[in-house]
């Protein structure tokens, strides 16, 4: 199942989000079976569980466990629970225990949970 685009109403199932869902106006959810070759852009919140080769750009990106992104990810806030091979750029990056990252990470604030596997170059910018 895949739900594309934006939903103006807060979905009842989405209560597990770490962000305040009340404030999310445009929220996109991409399910496990989604495979994208190219670029995906949004101005708000992306909840990503699929596979993507290319670029991913949004304000808030949540890469769920099982997700895979090869390419460039840019956002204000990124939460990584899946696998990333490429460049990550964000103001706030939260790396969870299930994350696996290879590549470059550009950040202002970073939070890493133990258990994550990171082989990357870190660049801090104020």
């Amino acid at each position: 199942m895949a739900l594309f685009g934006s939903s103006e109403k807060k979905s009842e199932e989405k209560t597990e989000f770490m962000f305040d869902t009340e404030s999310i106006v445009n929220q996109s959810t991409l399910a496990k079976d989604i495979k994208i070759n190219g670029s995906l852009e949004s101005t708000d919140y992306i909840d990503f569980s699929g596979h993507l080769t290319g670029t991913l750009k949004s304000t808030t990106i949540n890469l769920k466990p099982g997700s895979y992104v090869k390419g460039t990810i840019t956002a204000d806030t990124i939460t990584v629970e899946g696998e990333v091979d490429g460049d990550i750029q964000a103001k706030d990056i939260y790396i969870k225990s299930t994350a696996k990252i290879k590549g470059n990470i550009r950040y202002q604030n970073i939070d890493i949970q133990n258990g994550s596997i990171i082989n990357a170059d870190l660049f801090y910018s104020s």
């Binding site: 706030d92 790396i95 604030n109 970073i110 939070d111 890493i112 949970q113 133990n114 258990g115 994550s116 596997i117 990171i118 082989n119 990357a120 170059d121 870190l122 660049f123 801090y124």
Partner: protein, 157 residues
């Protein structure tokens, strides 16, 4: 009676003096503690716990390493359990777990098995996970094997 008393007094004062002299302060804990404002330049090996609140430049090998918030280290450090709250410039090699607190400022190469970084910490450099298959690892694994062989030979002798 009087003589006996004076003898006993002398004995007791002597024994007190001996006691003070015969209690040297041994540091069997293999602990290294570099206080705030103290600067050390050199190589520390075989330590169990190392608490650094001052400035240490050189090589540090210790099971437990704490670089406190006022502490500054530059050089190579290796240990099992490492906690960084201060500043580090160089190489960190952690066999077990590495905790980076929010006051930390790290520049260099970090090799880790388990890593936890608090929001606010600054890390500039390279992260390498131990156990991940990497193209640049054969040199270090050879060194480990040689060390293990040497240790085994020493045990045999």
């Amino acid at each position: 009676m009087d003589e006996n008393n004076t003898d006993m007094d002398e004995n007791s004062t002597d024994s007190v003096g001996d006691e003070i002299q015969s209690t040297p302060i041994d540091n069997d804990a293999k602990a290294v503690n570099i206080g705030s404002g103290v600067r050390v330049d050199g190589r520390i090996e075989g330590a169990e716990t190392s608490d650094i609140s001052g400035t240490l430049t050189g090589t540090l090998k210790s099971s437990n390493i704490n670089i406190n918030s006022k502490g500054a280290f530059s050089g190579d450090m290796s240990g099992q359990e490492i906690t960084i709250s201060g500043s580090v410039d160089g190489e960190i090699n952690s066999e077990d777990y590495l905790i980076v607190n929010n006051s930390a400022n790290i520049k260099g190469v970090i090799e880790y098995a388990s890593l936890q970084v608090s929001y606010g910490a600054r890390i500039q450099g390279t992260l390498r996970h131990r156990g991940s298959v990497q193209s640049y690892s054969p040199v270090s694994t050879d060194e480990v094997k040689e060390d293990e062989i040497n240790e085994n030979q020493e045990v045999d002798q």
